[in-house]
């Protein structure tokens, strides 16, 4: 649909793939096509099992080794990155793309201090000394509103609350100023008030840097408030894509309508 349209930072074109199982090959993504508009926040919504997380991981080249691509491409900077090997991907990851995961405390290394992890991420892509990286790291923590950053740098992930850990993960993802930020259900599992804070922070960071963002979620309320474009997925297929307002108020696809209805979205937004 939006194959290699200009104005897209990244385009997914007819991407398909699945897993080899003892009883044959099972498709999990089927002919997925959409684009991520530059400097816009695109939401990918769907129920559990729609394949949205797998899609995000595929964009980063982090899908499980048992996942096999059967067709299509992922276009970025004029190349099909779905064909990249790990070494090529390593140059992109962290530097061009970054990903924030759902369970922040599990995603952080429990035996290495938070500061160390930030410094490592920073120095992986920029030629800076340890001292400089430390300053940059502290600056990032301040940017994500972590109080007392200097002290926090020396602490370990288990000493952070869920919301704080999510902020740390955002700092980690953004420390090398990537062009694309993918967020996989960043607020699921957090308290409602914290959720709002985190989303506000994300929108703030993304818009102030002109970043492209891709938000994976099943929470339509968040989508309505923050996103520019929406991609609706169901069982590995894209059902509908379009601007946020259009999708949420005048959905054409039956499944999208069903989704909106069952999430009582219409009632809430009326």
């Amino acid at each position: 649909m939006t194959a290699t349209e200009p104005g897209n930072l990244l385009s997914v074109c007819g991407f398909s793939g699945g897993f080899k199982t003892p009883s044959g090959f099972k498709y999990v993504l089927d002919d997925v096509s959409f684009g991520l508009r530059e400097s816009a926040m695109t939401a990918i919504v769907g129920e559990t099992g729609s394949g949205k997380s797998l899609l995000a991981l595929s964009m980063m080249g982090l899908a499980a080794s048992t996942f096999v691509k059967t067709g299509g491409s992922i276009e970025y900077a004029g190349a099909d990155i779905s064909t990249y090997d790990d070494r090529a991907y390593r140059r992109i990851r962290g530097h061009d793309f970054a990903m924030a995961f759902q369970d922040a405390r599990a995603a952080l290394n429990p035996v290495i201090s938070v500061g160390r992890q930030l410094i490592d991420a920073c120095r992986a892509h920029r030629r800076v000394s340890v001292a400089q990286a430390q300053e940059i790291a502290e600056g990032m923590l301040r940017k994500v509103h972590v109080p007392e950053p200097a002290q926090r740098m020396r602490q370990f992930p288990h000493e952070f609350s869920g919301g704080m850990a999510q902020r740390v993960m955002l700092a980690l993802a953004l420390i090398c100023q990537p062009k694309l930020l993918i967020l996989d259900e960043p607020t699921t599992g957090l308290d409602v008030t914290i959720q709002a804070d985190i989303m506000e922070l994300i929108v703030d960071l993304v818009s102030s840097n002109g970043m492209t963002a891709c938000l994976i979620t099943h929470d339509l309320g968040v989508v309505a408030e923050t996103c520019d474009d929406v991609v609706v997925m169901y069982r590995g297929k894209v059902r509908e894509t379009g601007p946020c307002a259009q999708i949420l108020q005048q959905p054409e696809d039956l499944y999208t309508q069903q989704l909106l209805r069952s999430s009582r979205f219409e009632e809430l937004s009326a």
Binding site: R90, R93, D103, A107, L108, V111, I112, A121, H125, A173
Partner: protein, 358 residues
């Protein structure tokens, strides 16, 4: 062999009978107390086993023509005439003073005999542990990183074999191959070839002493004598460690935090050998205690085969001769050493895992 980690240390200042005591003193105090309790249990168990169930050692000293009075005299001299509880108290008192009795065979104090032989076993055990731990962890980690490769499959076969192979048999077979057939390594004549004199004693470690005292000519022969026993013992140490390290590393490599490391574009080396490795090593550290215990048993067998004049051989000969004080002394020494090592490893674990520290 399962090893349990002790409870996390208390959070606040503890008061010992109303006096505030800094946290780490009470932590160390608890550890020492726990260790002493275990050692006391071992001492008691050893005593019960030998005095209550053991044969009557009087027969070792008495002659067929001895009268009942003679036997009674011998019993008195050996301290076996008193009722068991009294003997127990005497035994405890002796042990606390470092007196482990007098050997029935050598008539020398057991403590002195043991201490004499410790350097020989230590040189062997330390060499085997260094070799075994390094090789085991390296092989395990690399097997996990290159899971499914030929290296992985070969190492899995080798480590499985290492767990199943009887050590003394491997030792004998290697002696046949390398000494008998290929003539590249010396035979099982102990710490030095026959006719070579040991260097003057500084530490008791021939390798160190030969360098420190300038008797460099004994360094190479001593080293050559060490190769096979260290190899065999080290192989036994490495095998379970390699398997544990591999399993642990495979799990770590699948963890979320490794996925994050990859997502951030960290180099492969750093992802594997720092981010995954530091987590994978935590369960392996708990295995070390069992490894050390195993090394004790191993030295008994290996010293026998290689004619190594260490504590293990002492244990063997005292067993053969029913030399009870020597046996008791040896078991006690081994248990105390093991308990100390276990506590040290436990402390090391708390440093390695920040989640336990707080």
């Amino acid at each position: 062999m399962a090893v349990e980690i002790s409870a996390p240390p208390p959070r606040s200042l503890r008061s010992l009978r109303g006096i505030a005591v800094p946290k780490f003193v009470s932590v160390i105090g608890r550890r020492v107390l726990a260790a002493m309790l275990v050692i006391w249990g071992v001492v008691t168990l050893t005593f019960l086993l030998t005095r209550v169930f053991g044969g009557d050692p009087v027969n070792l000293f008495a002659q067929p023509t001895s009268t009942a009075a003679d036997r009674e005299a011998i019993r008195q001299r050996l301290g076996l005439a008193d009722p068991i509880p009294v003997q127990y108290v005497h035994y405890l008192r002796d042990v606390i003073h470092g007196n482990l009795g007098t050997s029935y065979m050598t008539f020398r104090p057991v403590t002195a005999d043991l201490l004499n032989r410790v350097p020989a076993t230590a040189e062997l055990a330390v060499g085997a542990l260094i070799f075994g731990v390094t090789a085991g962890v390296a092989v395990g980690v690399l097997s996990a990183v290159f899971e499914g490769s030929i290296f992985d499959r070969a190492s899995r076969i080798l480590t499985s074999a290492g767990l199943a192979l009887p050590q003394f048999w491997v030792a004998l077979m290697l002696i046949v191959i390398f000494f008998d057939r290929l003539h590249v390594l010396p035979g099982p004549t102990g710490r030095l070839p026959i006719g070579t004199l040991p260097p003057p004693k500084v530490t008791g470690f021939y390798l160190i002493d030969s360098i420190v005292t300038g008797h460099l000519s004994t360094f190479w022969p001593a080293l050559r004598q060490l190769i096979l026993p260290v190899l065999v013992l080290g192989y036994g140490v490495a095998s379970p460690l390699a398997r544990g390290a591999r399993a642990s590393m495979i799990l770590a490599l699948k963890a979320d935090y490794v996925r994050s490391a990859r997502a951030l574009g960290l180099s492969r080396a750093r992802t594997w050998f720092v981010y995954a490795f530091r987590n994978a090593m935590l369960p392996v550290i708990t295995m070390f205690a069992g490894t050390v215990a195993w090394t004790f048993s191993g030295t008994v067998l290996i010293e026998g085969v290689f004619g190594w004049p260490g504590v293990g051989q002492y244990a063997l000969s005292s067993l053969e001769n029913s030399d009870f004080p020597a046996i008791q002394g040896f078991v006690l020494y081994a248990s105390i050493l093991y308990v100390i090592v276990y506590q040290l490893l436990d402390i090391a674990y708390t440093f390695a895992d920040p989640r336990i520290r707080s």
